[in-house]
């Protein structure tokens, strides 16, 4: 094979390359189009699979109970649940309209949540900042955390009666400990350099808490809110279970006593929808408050 001069060789290679490869701009557009296409195809696939899963579970449930392989008396039926929901929506429950029950339970959960979060943050920051306080109160808080606090519900009903206050208290107590431990830990994990820097710049103790400690602990506190709201709903429902005049927990207890599994499932469904809505709101709050964080590397792949 005869050797070409170097310049023509280079030119030939460049020519061959440009023949194989499209122009850079067009290439980039093609790549991003392909990525988008793959992304949307994946999304469709995931949604289709989700729908199929739901269909199989609900359809299976309906069919098995219709064929009496599983006894609908114990396990209820999706169609029965829908019937129950529509009857509640149209003619209300034994204790007034469905919306009233939802409102009562949500009010208890939200008030308990707010109280518990406020208490948890205040105590978490105080104990995290003041060593002596943490050393003195630490063992008691641990001991109280070890107790099955749900039992406190019975005591609250005795103390505070059948109204909403006893449920609010139970929800608040459940929420408090979750938030408290996270806030405490968050305060303890504050970067010492940040605090030292603020001190040198002339910050007072209160300014350090406001500008350094709280924002730093906020990551921890907000992470705990997801779990905490679940506990708030548990507190409200269990409280109503233990003795109430209104609320979804009471509706569930009544359905249970009447051997009405459809009623239990229907109330569960309502609670799930409420909890998911609250979860979405908390996620939005989280994004708003923690907008300063660098985007997580996985975030681009999900959602």
């Amino acid at each position: 094979m005869s050797r070409k001069p170097a310049t023509t060789e280079v030119a030939a290679i460049a020519e061959a390359r440009s023949a194989i490869r499209p122009q850079p701009a067009a290439e980039e557009a093609a790549i991003s189009a392909r990525l988008r296409q793959r992304g949307s195809r994946n999304r469709w696939l995931i949604w289709a699979a989700r729908a199929a899963t739901l269909l199989v579970v609900l359809g299976g449930w309906q069919l098995f109970t219709t064929w009496k392989i599983v006894d609908p008396f114990f396990f209820g039926q999706p169609s029965g649940i829908v019937r129950q929901l529509s009857s509640w929506a149209r003619s209300g429950t034994e204790y007034g309209s469905l919306w009233l029950q939802v409102w009562i339970t949500m009010k208890e959960a939200l008030l308990g949540f707010a109280l518990g979060v406020a208490g948890g943050v205040v105590f978490g920051v105080l104990l995290g900042q003041i060593r002596l306080l943490a050393d003195v109160l630490g063992p008691y808080i641990k001991a109280m955390n070890a107790l099955p606090r749900i039992v406190l519900g019975s005591i609250f009903v005795v103390w505070l009666g059948l109204g909403t206050t006893s449920k609010v208290m139970l929800a608040a107590v459940l929420v408090f400990f979750v938030v408290f431990f996270n806030a405490f830990q968050g305060v303890r994990e504050v970067d010492r350099n940040f605090v030292a820097n603020a001190r040198v710049l002339g910050a007072s103790r209160l300014q350090i808490v406001r500008h350094v400690v709280l924002p730093s602990a906020l990551t921890w506190i907000i992470a705990s809110l997801h779990v905490a709201f679940g506990f708030a709903i548990i507190g409200a429902i269990v409280g109503e279970f233990l003795g109430a005049q209104k609320g979804l927990g009471l509706v569930i207890a009544t359905a249970q006593n009447n051997f009405n599994p459809d009623g239990v499932f229907a109330a569960m469904l309502i609670i799930a929808v409420l909890a998911l809505t609250a979860e979405a709101l908390i996620s939005r709050l989280e994004r708003r408050l923690l907008a300063w964080r660098p985007p997580a590397p996985t975030e681009a792949g999900s959602a």
Partner: protein
């Protein structure tokens, strides 16, 4: 460079604060119940407006010295004085630049720089206006609303520098501020530090383990012994000011002479520290010669 147009600093109005450590010893309790002596009987004087570099092997108590001068910690024995007054708590007029970023990740660049004035009770509006000016001085105009994580390492150091200088300190303490930067960025930042320092002339203690950096920047280089830290030698650097580019001053014969002289003293300490740490871990390289 935009460095020349910036907030006008009333140099005459502020008296420069000298720093004096006499017989300073610092001990820490160790988790095992024993005590660890970080500094022993340290005597050190930085004259007002002087740029003093402290070099020494890893773990010789260089950073501890700075925390004592800043008033973040107290000596176990001896006296630390700034501007003729005994340090007993945070000293106003002191700024500290840490080795690690001390920028708050949840505050924008502007809010980070404005922190100093805000903590001192200046109104938010005024604080932000002067923060804007300082960002302009360090060449970061246009990045006010970025968050620290959106900046490069060198840019974050510029923000730190602006945040440290905005309070117009009479004492500037720097703990290996440029250690994490690549060589080129480090050189650029060193030049800018010198330019800014020459405008307001605070007294500086600049801790580093890089002897070249120390000689290029400082009026006085203090060599410390391997822990417990004591002062091994003090060397006055008689290179003329303004120094110009730190990359070029290294080639001057006087620079090389000084470097050899100080390295003699530093080498023994480095070797001793190395021998001590060899089993545990490889210490950072100290200087180059």
């Amino acid at each position: 460079m935009s460095v020349l147009t910036g907030p006008e600093v009333s140099r005459a109005a502020r008296e420069h604060a000298g720093i004096e450590l006499s017989g300073v010893t610092k001990r820490f309790p160790t988790p095992g119940g024993a005590t660890f002596t970080a500094l022993r009987d340290v005597d050190l004087a930085v004259e007002p407006g002087q740029f003093c570099a402290v070099v020494g092997p890893t773990g010789c108590g260089k950073s501890t010295t700075l925390t004592l001068v800043a008033g973040l910690d107290r000596p176990s024995a001896g006296v630390v004085q700034v501007a003729g007054r005994i340090v007993d708590g945070i000293v106003t007029g002191t700024s500290f630049m840490f080795q690690a970023d001390a920028l708050l990740p949840w505050k924008t660049v502007l809010a980070n720089v404005a922190m100093g004035p805000v903590f001192r009770g200046v109104t938010r509006k005024q604080a932000q206006a002067s923060a804007r000016e300082w960002l302009h001085v360090v060449g970061l105009a246009g990045f006010e609303n970025h968050y620290p994580h959106q900046l490069s390492g060198g840019m974050r150091k510029r923000v730190s520098l602006a945040a440290a200088l905005i309070n117009e300190p009479s004492v500037l303490l720097m703990d290996e501020p440029f250690a994490a930067l690549d060589v080129q960025t480090k050189a650029i930042m060193s030049n800018e530090l010198l330019t800014l320092w020459e405008r307001t002339r605070p007294s500086v203690i600049f801790v580093t383990h890089d002897l070249e950096e120390a000689i290029a920047l400082a009026d006085r280089v203090v060599v410390m012994t391997a822990g417990p830290g004591t002062v091994k030698g003090v060397y006055d650097i008689d290179l003329p000011r303004p120094r110009g580019a730190v990359q070029e001053i290294r080639f001057q014969p006087r620079f090389v002479e000084l470097q050899q002289q100080i390295w003699q003293a530093l080498r023994d300490e480095v070797q001793r520290a190395y021998a001590r740490n060899a089993a545990a871990r490889v210490p950072e390289e100290v200087g180059r010669s």
